[in-house]
Symmetry: C2
Subunit: 334 residues, 2 copies
Amino acid sequence: MVTLKQLAKELNVSISTVSKALNNSEEIGEDTIKRVKELAALYNYKPNKVALSLKQNKTKTIGVIIPNILNHFLAKVLFGIEREATNLGYNIITCISNESLDKEKQSLLLLANGSVDGFILSVAEETQVKNEVEHFKRTISQGLPIVMFDRVAHDVMCDKVIVDDFDATYNATKSLLEEQRKNIAFMTNINNLSVGKLRERGYTKAILEHSKQDPLVLKVKKKDDHQKKIKSFLKKNKTVDGVIAADSTSGIIAINTAINLGLKVPKDISVMGFASKSDSNHALPRLTTIRQHAKAIGASAAQILIHRLEHMHLNEEVKTKIVKTSLVKSKSTL
Amino acid sequence: MVTLKQLAKELNVSISTVSKALNNSEEIGEDTIKRVKELAALYNYKPNKVALSLKQNKTKTIGVIIPNILNHFLAKVLFGIEREATNLGYNIITCISNESLDKEKQSLLLLANGSVDGFILSVAEETQVKNEVEHFKRTISQGLPIVMFDRVAHDVMCDKVIVDDFDATYNATKSLLEEQRKNIAFMTNINNLSVGKLRERGYTKAILEHSKQDPLVLKVKKKDDHQKKIKSFLKKNKTVDGVIAADSTSGIIAINTAINLGLKVPKDISVMGFASKSDSNHALPRLTTIRQHAKAIGASAAQILIHRLEHMHLNEEVKTKIVKTSLVKSKSTL
DNA sequence: GTGAAAGCGCTAACAA
DNA sequence: TTGTTAGCGCTTTCAC
């Protein structure tokens, strides 16, 4: 890479002249500016990012810590973050915590050495289970702002972008009740997560308030055979005529399994679940989905963090933004 | 963040003494080392990454350019890259080209300002269609090595990690022929990509060599209704008794659609396709899949790049690594 | 209108 | 054993 020094030498002017010329300083003569710019263009000069970062004590880089990149929702949020950050002139350094508390701590520590100006993250499953938050607080107190999305740690004072999980399942359940469903089951493989619990509560509340049935919940663990679990559940609970799925695969599998068992969807059983558009394609009939607007969540998180970074002096209060889900009807419900 | 300067001041020693002490230099007295380290620990000192990068003229950071983060395969490769890079002491800056040539150029340019030491990337669809490679060559000639994976630009001299796409479908097709399938179709929605073409050629060759049928190919475009396309294809070609899917969704949809049309899988029709483990769950019976070992591909790419970065002086020849696919049999084939 | 010098945080050659 | 100094590439204040 060409440096100011080299340009200066070749032009027989000082380094500072070159610097000022390239930054269109008023101080510099017109033809000098022209000469400098021409040579810079010729050599394809680009200011060294690292030197700039050191000088200005900011990197224009955001650390993003994602629990699981293979989760379609999280990947899509990352997509949103990347796009918005790029538009606003920031790069992102991505770490994958792999749902591990240790890796999460590690990543936070590793990047808190001047590599990034702040963080966007979703809390790892293990962290939520153990309810640890010290590492977040420490990072923030070091002057590195954090924006949490989706899975957040409520007792950490920082900006948050979340989904209306409770309302989403509450409304989804009510919508199945309006179809006159008498025995609606709730399926989840994210029962450990804050969002998973909220979704279950939304379902339960709707059932208790508006139905005569008891809540009926199937909790699938990561290591379970997902298909088998759902199949035996549906076999055992033959009167189930509605399903709310808290995660993106349970809904798909529920439809496929129901059909395999000879049920008609949605005539005999209605299925509704959190999922993305592309996943909903994997069932026939297509899954009626609760969409989380993942890209918008990512974009919001990036905006909020960058706004804070660029207005650090203002010391604004932390805020929580709620991105509303929407229900996209398809053929798996009436 | 605490700096050496502050530590030095508080300890009444020089900056270089502190630096050396922290680096366990032989030159420094034992008790000085101890005093320095204690204070450093107290203040939670961490060497400033940016300063180090500037000094040593390397960032220990890799630029990763992914065409589409929502593609499960690519996301998994990213996962592999991140893990391996982290293990080897590198960070990754992720850019998403979104299959756009412009964004790809943009990202390359943006990071070639000292932000990263090298690149790992998979070529964007538009880039492959237009067959542009100049931006890659320019980057490399600037001293930033590139490792390409999966979708590679053959006329760029750089390290590559690829899949045995041709062999994979050739063998898959032969395996269906061994089931005595008489009319095997090939379905793809990645016909624009180098890998998509290779996969089609593998299928075609196997058919031409070992079967009496003509090749039968269904090309689905991004904007098509995937389910509809496959449904009408299967309706029109009622004698199709085998399917090879080049991408990760066509196989799933083919199974679900066949069942919807009243066919028995695998009795009436066998389906086999590229897909990941989690996707294969979306069909019932589960899809027999061609696995690409995405994580291993990512890890290899990271290893190769980092090796090159740390042995730049050797100027080793570029190499191409082929990661063999494997066929995981499930219930969608005999 | 142009240049010299300081400084961001760090390392390392050299001096004491 | 410890300190001084230069320098990585850049911006910016202050002199000329």
